[in-house]
């Protein structure tokens, strides 16, 4: 019996009711794991997105003005938004080119989403139409060559994998039930590009402008115009010049750079993470109830013992401390196990959901472990306050008479 005797009593009480204590602590373990791994997942998503986005800080995307907020998540990759009537015209493109081409590469992009048929399978993919001269500048191939003819296309690596497509494979674009399909031939496979500001090609089909116009008859209706700056520092200048020129009378275009997108994504991910963590937090409330229950049981069972302790000179405050310690022990043990478990499970989670564990040990990510631990321990202690107070306020004589 060394050190703090009151603490010793708490430890022994927990040990005496080992199974019950373990079960109560299990709730805290689950709560801590839930909060920590959700938090870490959010952090890892944010970190990896931020990293990818800062790689393309030199890209400006010009879209037709759609009114209201402008920019935002919907613009990621520019494409896919079929049914959007807001296009940039040839005039717009020419204006932008005139202003921006001295700062870097300017190209326009057609995009749509359509049904594709490969053999007897049917699916959906984003179709991009690009100037063939621009393709080698912005797209990297892992296999094959850039399209030379109208019916030749490049495909993203995920599309290739999903449909088991190779160089020479044929794809029918359009719905055969409606009778109008165009058959194209794969001539090149694109390198994995990940998330991107300007275009997301990983599961898309990239063809020539001519092919796109041939299918959709949308000449001069560009989904977006992209500027790849030679110097990142020009971003504000170019944005300003374009806006001044094209939005002189009314808002015609929106220029977005990655910083604005980064803000939107980061804050959206932040909100999402907080929301998911709040849901995970519900498990801690359940845990709190079970800790409370166990503590009340402990007090009730030990009424007589409390009477003895009080009668031989134990202060109220010491009795209170004894039960708070007991709750804290459950909390610390639970949070400790939870911390180890959340490192393991969190790692797996992040690997599966985010795809990379590159940022797992970054401070912004692992900080969720101590944070969840502290929350878990605090919840335990709070759950122990009322039982401890009840125990301390027992009348010693009444307590001694208890059986």
């Amino acid at each position: 019996m060394r050190g703090d005797i009151i603490f010793q009593l708490s430890v022994r009480s927990v040990r005496l009711h080992f199974l019950r204590s373990v079960l109560a602590a299990l709730g805290i373990v689950i709560g801590v794991v839930a909060i920590a791994s959700m938090g870490m997942m959010g952090a890892n998503m944010t970190l990896s997105v931020t990293e990818e986005l800062s790689d393309m800080a030199n890209i400006l995307v010009v879209n037709a003005y759609t009114g209201g907020g402008g920019g935002g998540m919907m613009r990621i990759g520019g494409g896919g938004s079929s049914g959007n009537d807001n296009y940039l015209s040839d005039d717009n493109f020419e204006d932008i080119k005139r202003i921006a081409s001295k700062y870097g590469l300017v190209y326009a992009l057609y995009s749509d989403s359509d049904i594709i048929e490969i053999g007897s399978d049917t699916g959906r993919a984003t179709i991009y139409g690009l100037d063939p001269a621009v393709m080698p500048e912005i797209l990297t191939l892992t296999d094959g060559a850039y399209p030379k003819s109208t019916n030749s296309v490049l495909i993203g690596p995920q599309l290739a994998e999903r449909w088991e497509l190779k160089i020479g494979s044929r794809i029918d674009i359009g719905d055969s039930d409606e009778g109008s399909t165009t058959t194209v031939r794969v001539v090149g496979i694109l390198e994995e590009r990940g998330m991107s500001m300007d275009l997301s090609t990983d599961s898309a089909i990239v063809g020539t402008e001519k092919l796109f116009i041939g299918i959709y008859d949308t000449e001069g209706e560009y989904g977006q115009v992209t500027i790849v700056l030679d110097d990142i520092d020009d971003a504000d200048t170019v944005t300003g010049e374009i806006e001044d020129e094209l939005n002189k009378k009314e808002d015609v275009v929106t220029v977005s750079d990655s910083s604005r997108m980064m803000e939107t994504i980061t804050s959206t991910l932040g909100t999402l993470t907080a929301f998911v963590m709040a849901i995970a937090g519900i498990s801690l409330i359940v845990a709190a109830v079970s800790i409370f229950n166990v503590m009340m049981m402990s007090v009730t069972e030990r009424i007589r013992e409390i009477g003895i302790l009080r009668s031989i000179g134990t202060q109220k405050e010491e009795v209170r401390r004894m039960f708070i310690y007991e709750a804290a022990i459950l909390g610390i043990v639970g949070a400790g196990i939870g911390a180890v478990a959340s490192l393991v499970l969190g790692y797996l989670f992040v690997l599966i959901m985010v795809g990379t564990t590159e940022y797992f040990f970054a401070p912004a990510s692992v900080m969720y472990v101590p944070m969840a631990m502290i929350i878990g321990v605090i919840i335990c202690i709070i759950s122990g306050v009322y039982p401890a107070w009840r125990a301390a306020d027992l009348d010693p004589i009444e307590a001694l008479r208890a059986e």
């Binding site: 013992e305 009668s311 202060q315």
Partner: protein, 225 residues
């Protein structure tokens, strides 16, 4: 050396308010107990013996009347001070031993010592006390349920003595023991009294009361003279 009262009761009354009507457990008890006295309190069940002992032991505060322990009026003390008084000046010995089941015999005796001194006993005081009660080191490491009633009561006496209190309060200390063990316990209490400790003991047993210098008899909360 001039004797002065260690405990003085002045018209102490204890009323338990119950829905069915108030229970007057103690009804105007006045009593002076001198240092070194050995007092037995007797009387039929329910006459208020334990209630009286609880007042003297500052586990409870009288409804009316004054109670002085070492000339201090316990009415003027808060819960913290009363608790400290129980820790340092009074030793309790109960009928049901009331050892702490989570602690070994040794630890039970050391517990009030640590509460008072804020550190474990390094002087051998606890071991000596236990040995004096006939509890050797092997027995000291046992938990209370592993000890016989007589052994538990000896540990309880050692615990009551560990902070060297002036007064020992015993509520039927032999009530749960066979007569032979009871006799041994009474011999120990008698020795402690001979060493100068004041002992106030509740008992049903006239043979046990024989050990006392003075017997107080209660009936319905009043003292018979």
């Amino acid at each position: 050396m001039q004797n002065h009262p260690v405990i003085e009761l002045d018209r102490v009354t204890k009323v338990y308010p119950l829905p069915a009507g108030d229970v007057i457990a103690l009804d105007g008890i006045s009593l002076r107990i001198e240092e070194g006295e050995f007092i037995a309190i007797m009387g039929p069940s329910g006459c208020g013996k334990s209630t009286l002992l609880n007042q003297i032991g500052s586990l409870d505060v009288p409804t009316s009347g004054d109670l002085f322990i070492d000339r201090r009026n316990i009415r003027e003390m808060d819960d913290r001070e009363l608790t400290t008084l129980r820790l340092t000046s009074i030793g309790y010995i109960f009928q049901k031993f009331n050892l702490i089941p989570l602690l070994t015999a040794y630890e039970n005796v050391e517990y009030p010592y640590i509460l008072r001194h804020r550190h474990p006993d390094t002087t051998g005081h606890v071991t000596r006390l236990l040995a004096g009660m006939g509890i050797d080191e092997a027995l000291s490491s046992h938990k209370p349920p592993e000890l016989s009633g007589g052994q538990q009561q000896r540990v309880a006496i050692a615990r009551a003595l560990v902070n060297d209190p002036k007064t020992l309060l015993c509520d039927e200390p032999t009530g749960n023991l066979d007569s032979k063990t009871g006799e041994q316990i009474m011999e120990m209490l008698k020795d402690l009294n001979d060493q100068g400790r004041t002992i106030i003991m509740v008992t049903h047993d006239p043979a046990v009361a024989e050990y006392a210098d003075r017997t107080i008899t209660l009936r319905d909360g009043r003292m018979l003279v």
